[in-house]
Symmetry: C2
Subunit: 101 residues, 2 copies
Amino acid sequence: MSVDPAPTLPDDCAVSHKRQSDINQRFGRAVRRRRREMDLSQEELAERAELHRTYVSSIERGERNPSLDNIEKLAKALDTSIAGLFTDYGIEVEGEPESRS
Amino acid sequence: MSVDPAPTLPDDCAVSHKRQSDINQRFGRAVRRRRREMDLSQEELAERAELHRTYVSSIERGERNPSLDNIEKLAKALDTSIAGLFTDYGIEVEGEPESRS
């Protein structure tokens, strides 16, 4: 007799340690790239963004699925906008998503 | 004798019903504006994005703090990119964040 799986939480309620979705990896690489461009340490970025250093570290490794308000904090701490971060740091390389059928 | 508050979860682990941060409200309005432009119902958008209709509804009301992967799903379902959604639908009106001191 099969058992239905438990209902899953919406994604933004889930702790996403170790889950590495493509968009989270691309976001992490962009944060790292922009942080290094500004010659900031992870700790300095964390302070500017009012986030924890370990959280910034796991973001950069693509291990977190950041929420919109934290994305905004990081963009501001990196002296850019969310759109600027996504456009200029390779998160959405073509500036457009993959085509939908 | 005071008691330390419990450690809080990172924001992307928190259920954010009823919390209405500015960025979440601006994001919600942008999603609604683009959805209406495409003449989609909330249910149709939810189906395209593989999200629940009530989740899309609360996003549009600014009551949720969406995670990056759900932001990406919504942008794709709205036939745009994340940067496009943020640039073209008034989320970051000036294209830049408020200045930092």
